[in-house]
């Protein structure tokens, strides 16, 4: 590079800086004296993050299991509903209540029913 040569010819590459006598001989001691001592760390048992996730998953599993066991299951509820329905049907008396209700709903009286039956 031409410009680099220009600087080199004009100024050179010499290091123009100097240090006090014996500076580098004392540098290491000077630096080491300024460093704090390491405090022994309190021993803490650290686990890898994957173990924390595993522990959390197991806890969550236990909570879910506890909730599931204490909750009445859906099959139990269904069985209960069916049993109640059967019981209700059984409790009904075998009379014409439903027949009369159906006839009223269809606005049929006895005569109409007989007329209808006589056609067959």
């Amino acid at each position: 590079m031409e410009e680099e040569k220009y600087i080199e010819e004009l100024v050179g590459k010499r290091n123009p800086f100097v240090v006090p006598e014996g500076y580098f001989e004392q540098l290491t001691d000077q630096v080491m004296q300024s460093l704090p001592e390491r405090r022994p760390r309190a021993k803490t048992v650290w686990m890898r993050p994957v173990f924390y996730y595993a522990a959390a998953s197991v806890c969550a599993l236990f909570v879910c299991a506890a909730v599931w066991l204490s909750w009445p299951s859906s099959s139990q509820q269904e069985q209960k509903t069916v049993a109640e329905a059967v019981q209700a049907v059984q409790q009904q008396q075998p009379d014409d209540t439903f027949f009369d209700e159906a006839a009223d709903y269809m606005m049929l009286d006895n005569q109409a029913i007989y007329a209808c039956l006589s056609d067959y």
């Binding site: 590079m1 240090v19 300024s34 460093l35």
Partner: protein, 192 residues
Amino acid sequence: MEKYDDQLILQMLMNPETQRRAFEACVRQYGEQLYWQVRKIVLTHDDANDVLQNSFLKAWNGLGSFQGESKVFTWLSRIAINESLDFLRRNKQRLAASEVLSTPTGDGSKSGERIVDRLVADPYFDGSETEALLQEAIASLPDVQRTVFQLRYFDEMKYNDISHLLGTSEGALKASYHIAVKKITEFFKARD
């Protein structure tokens, strides 16, 4: 420790029992080299000494985060260069100097001359006025250009090594160096 072995030092640095002894070996091995890197950025001996001490202190305190992913010298050098640039930012010396290059033929030279005067009066500066002017021109460059120029021009460091040191691509570093050289050349030509 008779012979410095980077791999062995790295293992010793990881061990709390031996890390202080290993760190001392690092200071002994790289202290001078790091000093010159810092000195070329901050210019005066007292500032360079302060920055270097802080850099080693920072490295010592941050030893736990150093996992040996780079060479020990690269790690220390990175800390030292960052500390040097932080120091400059704090002192705003660079802002005063940058006025010179932004207006090379204007009045901005006044603030730049202070660096030259300071260097010439410094008992630990053994250079000519032209060498002091070069330092002034370098000091006025932006951080990356300034660091690349120092490492490449004076230390003749390879772009690949500078790239590891600064975490910048080789292409970007070459461009920065080229711009830095151009600006410094213009700086001198404007004074002729």
